[in-house]
């Protein structure tokens, strides 16, 4: 019978700490926010549900990020770096053909978000393969730096993009307390990265679009990242684990050999 080294059940203390932000969010929702101060023209009372969600989710992900057992071993770091270098080469290749391809397919915003998922793959892949705190951000950021150093159209602005998109995926994995790495968490992590990247795009590159087109762009970015980055990275992780290349990593231990 095979034995795993990781614990399978959540300890009670962790659950208690995680319950705090959830309770705070529920409290906000139950009590409601005062109507008088307003944010961007909307009275606070109308934003109760959103505020409750932000508090609950943000608190949970902070708890996850802080309490995750995440000592990075040297092999984790080196494999993450290898993935980042491959990701950087991949980014560079995609960046070179991005303009011609999107114009050939007559993709203008908001529909150019259809291929946005390609930019999130290394981050999600890093998070799924390494399974430690900060892996998604590290891989996506270093890949963006390498893409910038190899020379592309957008210069060093890709570094900022890499950081924020990586944080999007990291946010989701932290929310799940770094314990779930199956297909559903992968898709959610991809969606998180897509959300971050989409929002960044509409603020920096396309501020002129109408509100509806902006929302459509972000929604398409989320969908594309969930599929391409989420499912794609998950399938790639599984294929890598099957070759035994991940045997020294946490993700390889999950694929037990007899």
């Amino acid at each position: 019978m095979s034995t795993t080294v990781e614990r399978q059940t959540l300890p009670v203390r962790l659950l208690a700490v995680a319950a705090v932000p959830v309770a705070a969010g529920a409290l906000i929702w139950a009590v409601g926010l005062p109507p008088t101060p307003s944010l961007f023209g909307t009275p606070l009372a109308d934003l109760t549900v959103e505020a409750a969600l932000v508090v609950a989710l943000g608190g949970l992900s902070a708890v996850g990020a802080v309490t995750a057992r995440s000592r990075w071993r040297v092999v984790d770091l080196v494999v993450a770096s290898v993935l980042a270098v491959v990701g950087g080469l991949f980014f560079w290749g995609v960046a070179t053909v991005w303009d011609p391809v999107t114009r050939a397919l007559s993709l203008v915003p908001p529909s150019s978000a259809l291929l946005a998922g390609l930019w999130m793959v290394p981050g999600v892949l890093g998070g799924l393969v390494i399974r430690k705190r900060g892996a998604a951000v590290y891989v996506e950021l270093v890949a963006a730096v390498i893409e910038a150093l190899l020379g592309n159209v957008w210069g060093f602005s890709t570094v900022y993009y890499g950081l924020i998109e990586g944080l999007g995926a990291e946010f989701v994995l932290a929310l799940l307390l770094y314990r779930a790495f199956g297909p559903v968490p992968a898709v959610l992590a991809g969606a998180g990265a897509g959300l971050a990247g989409g929002l960044l795009d509409v603020t920096v590159y396309y501020p002129d679009l109408a509100g509806g087109a902006k929302a459509g762009y972000v929604a398409l970015a989320v969908l594309s990242s969930a599929v391409i980055a989420g499912m794609g990275a998950w399938a790639l992780t599984r294929a890598l684990a099957a070759t035994g290349a991940l045997a020294s990593l946490a993700s390889g231990r999950a694929a037990q050999r007899v």
């Binding site: 494999v79 993450a80 290898v82 020379g151």
Partner: protein, 275 residues
């Protein structure tokens, strides 16, 4: 500061290694060049207008003679940038927002003063953002950059060195890519429509990834056996410090950014993209 003993006569640089430039800018600390690139990117990212971008580009070109790059080397490295910038600018000129006097018309496509200006702005902006990066890569050795990041910017040494080692690992993999391509032909793969080709290339990329990850695992073991990752404190064999020349470069980069922005504001064309 104790300079390490002079090395022997250097071998001719291998293909892919960055030859040290002879110019003053080329010999500055790589961190200074990196910060200048980041700063100029950030400032130029905030707006798309001809005056700002052209001013920044002009100022950067003024500094080019000190970069120590020959014209041919520069053209080769900046070539991709020129092509991408040129095509993006052309498209912006043709299908961009029209405004002002109409200059030319080819069927439904019109080139007006407004769209031409916006096309020029796009080209200038792409070149202005990309040029410092090109100089950085052409005149910097990755090991020196890593030394700078660890010692000057005090980034944690372990991730920086791991990334450097992974980059070195990849230099070797170019030969493996060739072998993989030959092996695939020998197995009967290849040739069979565009879809088949894409699948074959993806398979080749996957095989390279497997080989890279495996080799990375062995590399991690070798690095760990030499003490990597065991202690927080480490020393640096190649000291990297910011010297007056580096600070001058940083000041110069800030000056370029500020001057370009001021020019744009003065001309009235500066428009913040965010918000």
């Amino acid at each position: 500061m104790i300079r390490p003993g002079a090395p022997g006569p250097p071998d001719p640089p291998a293909a892919g290694a960055a030859p040290p430039g002879r110019g003053a800018i080329a010999r500055t600390n790589p961190v200074a060049k990196l910060l200048v690139s980041l700063l100029i990117s950030l400032v130029l990212l905030l707006t798309v207008d001809v005056v700002t971008a052209a001013a920044a580009l002009a100022l950067e070109c003024l500094a080019l003679p000190w970069c120590g790059l020959g014209a041919r080397a520069l053209a080769r490295r900046a070539g991709a940038l020129l092509v991408a910038g040129g095509s993006a600018g052309l498209v912006a000129a043709l299908v961009g927002v029209d405004g002002g006097a109409q200059l030319a018309a080819v069927g439904p496509v019109t080139v007006t003063q407004g769209s031409l200006l916006s096309g020029l702005a796009v080209v200038a902006r792409i070149l202005a953002i990309g040029l410092p990066g090109v100089v950085l890569v052409a005149t910097t050795d990755p090991t020196d950059l890593a030394d700078g990041l660890g010692q000057v910017l005090r980034l944690p040494a372990t991730p920086v060195l791991a990334a450097l080692a992974a980059l070195r690992l990849f230099g070797v993999l170019a030969q493996e890519w060739q072998d993989l391509a030959h092996a695939r032909r020998a197995r009967g793969l290849g040739g069979g429509g565009p879809v088949g080709r894409v699948r074959d290339v993806l398979g080749q990329v996957f095989a390279l990834l497997v080989i890279a990850v495996r080799r990375g695992t062995v590399l991690a073991m070798a690095m760990e056996s030499r003490g990597f990752g065991a202690a927080a404190r480490r020393t640096w064999a190649r000291p990297s410090r910011l010297r007056p020349g580096d600070l001058a470069l940083l000041a110069g980069g800030a000056a370029v950014a500020l001057t370009a922005t001021a020019a744009g504001v003065a001309a009235g064309t500066w428009r913040l993209l965010l918000g």
